[in-house]
């Protein structure tokens, strides 16, 4: 896929998301309270989609978007009153647009069924439009070959003067795409390429653009529609559009145009409010393909490793000036690294908003009333993590709506509000991001799960399980407590996949539930997957990395503490009891006699443990390298990294180590 196509798809996806989120907002409030700006927002998204599709020559999308845009325009101008039916229709239009985009970008055509649905939606959109606005391009049939406006008594002639700026070719865009778009909304009468500024081959800098074009054009669309065709190349062109004198030869028009330049109608002067807003917003950000960012992160990762080698060498040379220079370089590299990692961080809110539709649709299908809340949408998470998290979240939300929330009559009978609440909450905590799916539904009945597990021979009848262990049974493959299998959930397929997907992201999922009150799924995820700030420690002759975000403090293991540890398995740190995990013992490494031992206090979520290590070496920028199939399942290790001297150090999986220690402690206590 070309970079342009990737950007096109990303932008279309963004516009569809905006459209859907705004329509769902509109759906949630009484029609009389709807703000005009909300309609404008949907209109702008549709308008941008149409423009983008036009640039890439996707006529099917343009035709469809055009009719929808007409209806939205009538609504925002107060000519047509918005109804619930229309909102539902626009949501279907959004879905259909996604389907068409996928088909078009894969060079596929709509099949018979899809074409039928497409025409049905076009018909429905047109039905809402007054007859005088149902012009030729809103004809209720699939327009395959051309959408050119062939006849319209409102046609206006324009002269478009287009000059390519020096760097135009570097933008990756082509005048042909613009021409194609213009053909969709009007008639091209003549195009003249002016080559007078192009030098001859021995003098030309072929990377610089020298071309100019005079385009004679007619359309019934307003001038802002014409300027929209140039949306993608605004920075790289000089553009003037003016209404042409009637029936003039292009040369003659060109002369008229030169005169008219004093009173030119520059595209930024048009009353195209949406486009203007859009441009200013676009100027604030730069869209970069994620592949480029990934490549950059990989390169930075390799630089971090190379830097560690230089640092090691600097220490060995004992040249203080050299060492100081390397330290400065390391600090700068760390800043660059953080900056690059920051680019990958995106707010979870956009992704969460897409899930709203799923909740709304399932609620409708199951006859439930649901208020869907998003809290902490501004929380940032690595883009890859968010993308991979989407499926698990969909699954859990489906379950929450289908199985968690009761029907309105049952809720009322139980003294609850008829409308259930499903909350999707995100917040950072101790170097991780926590995502919670909270519902105020009927909760999970532990006995039902337990009995089902016994029935399925997953556990013994007399097994003594804690609440969390019982809830964890839900994550076993094929486990489902739903008596009725619906097309939404209850097939027992999914929760195991949910857990696996989350664990693949180095995350955890945890269930809490209170009968009749509701259920909370807590997902805890690392901030990023590529590079972390680590703390290097030595145990016997092996080196380990502890993620810095997990470290609370480091303390020396005093002889008093050693005695306490020997007797009780824990030490007292100030006033708190701190369970200690001996790293050497855990990995079955032969211990070495060291004068001084240390405790690194680590935390994951709300749990805290002390790790007994020999030497504290110091902070280390850690590029996480996968361990490969053979080593990936080693308990307590989450990855590896390469040190400056080429040695490999394992990254400790703090979450698993803490879980192990707590479980071990509980079993020793007879639990």
């Amino acid at each position: 896929m070309t970079e342009e196509m990737q950007l096109f798809l990303e932008d279309m996806d963004e516009q569809l998301s905006i459209m859907e989120a705004t329509l769902l907002d509109i759906q949630d409030i009484p029609l009389e309270d709807i703000d005009k700006e909300m309609i404008n927002k949907v209109f702008r998204a549709m308008h941008t989609m149409k423009g983008n599709a036009g640039i890439f020559g996707y006529k099917t999308i343009v035709s469809f978007a055009h009719v929808a845009e007409n209806l939205l325009d009538e609504i925002r101008n107060g000519k047509i009153e918005l109804t619930q039916d229309m909102i539902n229709l626009f949501l279907q239009v959004k879905d259909e647009s996604k389907t068409i985009i996928n088909l078009c970008t894969n060079n596929k055509k709509l099949d018979e069924e899809q074409e039928k649905h497409y025409n049905y939606l076009l018909n429905r959109l047109s039905d809402f439009l007054p007859l005088d606005t149902q012009n030729s391009d809103s004809t209720v049939q699939l327009i395959e070959n051309t959408t050119n406006i062939q006849s319209n008594d409102q046609l206006v002639s324009y002269i478009i003067d287009l000059k390519l700026k020096k760097d135009f070719y570097k933008s990756g865009m082509d005048v042909l795409s613009i021409i194609k778009y213009l053909e969709l909304i009007g008639n091209l009468k003549n195009i003249k390429l002016l080559d007078d500024e192009i030098p001859t081959i021995e003098d030309i800098d072929p990377l610089n653009a020298y071309m100019k074009f005079i385009i004679e054009y007619e359309t019934s669309e307003p001038i802002n529609e014409i300027t929209e065709a140039f949306e993608f190349v605004r920075e790289d062109i000089e553009l003037d559009i003016f209404e042409a004198a009637v029936e003039k030869d292009i040369e003659e028009s060109f002369l008229v145009f030169k005169k008219a330049k004093q009173t030119k109608q520059n595209f930024t002067d048009t009353n195209n409010e949406p486009a203007a807003n859009n441009t200013s917003a676009k100027n604030l950000s730069l869209r970069v393909g994620s592949i480029k960012v990934d490549k950059l992160i990989n390169q930075i990762s390799e630089m971090v490793i190379a830097n560690a080698k230089i640092m090691q060498y600097a220490k060995e040379t004992q040249d203080s000036d050299f060492e100081e220079t390397v330290i400065v370089m390391s600090e700068m590299l760390e800043e660059v690294r953080n900056g690059i990692m920051d680019i990958r961080m995106v707010q979870v809110g956009d992704s969460f908003s897409k899930l709203r539709r799923i909740v709304t649709d399932i609620a409708k299908r199951t006859g439930k009333e649901i208020k869907f809340e998003i809290v902490g949408g501004e929380t940032e998470l690595d883009k890859t993590v968010i993308e991979k998290l989407s499926d698990p979240l969909v699954h859990m939300l489906r379950n929450a709506v289908d199985h968690g929330i009761e029907t309105p009559d049952i809720r009322v009978k139980n003294g609850k509000n008829s409308k259930g609440t499903v909350t999707l909450k995100a917040y950072p905590e101790a170097g991780t991001i926590v995502i919670k799916i909270i519902d105020d539904g009927k909760g999970i009945d532990k006995d039902i799960i337990f009995n089902k597990a016994v029935e399925k021979n997953l556990i013994e009848k007399d097994a003594n399980l804690s609440d969390s262990e019982i809830y964890n049974l839900l994550f076993l493959p094929g486990f489902s407590t739903a008596n009725e299998v619906t097309d939404i959930s209850g097939r027992g397929v999914g929760m195991d996949v949910v857990k696996k997907n989350i664990e693949d992201l180095r995350g955890t999922v945890f269930i809490e539930s209170t009968l009749k009150k509701g259920t909370t799924f807590t997902i805890r995820l690392p901030l990023t997957l590529a590079i972390i700030d680590g703390f290097l420690v030595q145990v016997a002759d092996s080196k380990y990395i502890i993620p810095l975000d997990n470290i609370r403090e480091c303390v020396e293991l005093t002889s008093d503490s050693k005695n306490q540890l020997k007797n009780n398995g824990y030490i007292t740190l100030r006033t708190d009891i701190l369970p200690i995990l001996d790293v050497a013992e855990f990995f079955k490494i032969e211990k070495m006699d060291t004068k001084r031992e240390n405790i690194v206090v680590v935390k994951y979520g709300t749990s805290q443990v002390g790790l007994r290590v020999d030497e504290l070496i110091g902070e280390f920028q850690t590029v996480i390298k996968p361990l490969g199939e053979i080593f990936e399942n080693i308990a307590g290790i989450s990855g590896g990294t390469i040190l400056g001297n080429g040695e490999i150090a394992f990254i400790l999986d703090i979450q698993r180590l803490i879980e192990y220690k707590i479980k071990n402690k509980e079993s020793k206590n007879g639990k």
């Binding site: 070719y169 042909l176 195009i191 003249k192 390429l193 080559d195 192009i198 001859t200 081959i201 990377l207």
Partner: protein, 92 residues
């Protein structure tokens, strides 16, 4: 001169310019023949260079002959921008 590039775009244009300049230096007739049989894809940047070659040829009284245009994009450019006359293309 048989043009040996499959893609003639912004990435190759400087090399193409060098090839053409070398060809012009060793040109021993008043005719420059560019054979585009192998060229599959071009961009606007190339079109501009082609026009600049034509300009040079016109100024130097060299007859530029463009042969075997297979690239659909190039054909499109020529049609959309009415370049048959500008580039002296008389056949298809």
């Amino acid at each position: 001169l048989k043009i040996a590039y499959k893609e003639l775009d912004i990435n190759e244009i400087e090399n193409f310019q060098k090839d053409i300049l070398n060809e012009i230096i060793r040109l021993d007739s008043e005719k420059l023949v560019l054979d585009f049989t192998d060229v599959e894809n071009v961009d606007l940047c190339f079109l501009q260079t082609l026009i600049s070659i034509k300009k040079y040829c016109d100024n130097s009284h060299i007859n530029l002959i463009i042969e075997n245009i297979n690239s659909n994009t190039l054909k499109q450019y020529i049609n959309v921008f009415n370049l048959n006359q500008t580039l002296g293309i008389t056949n298809d």
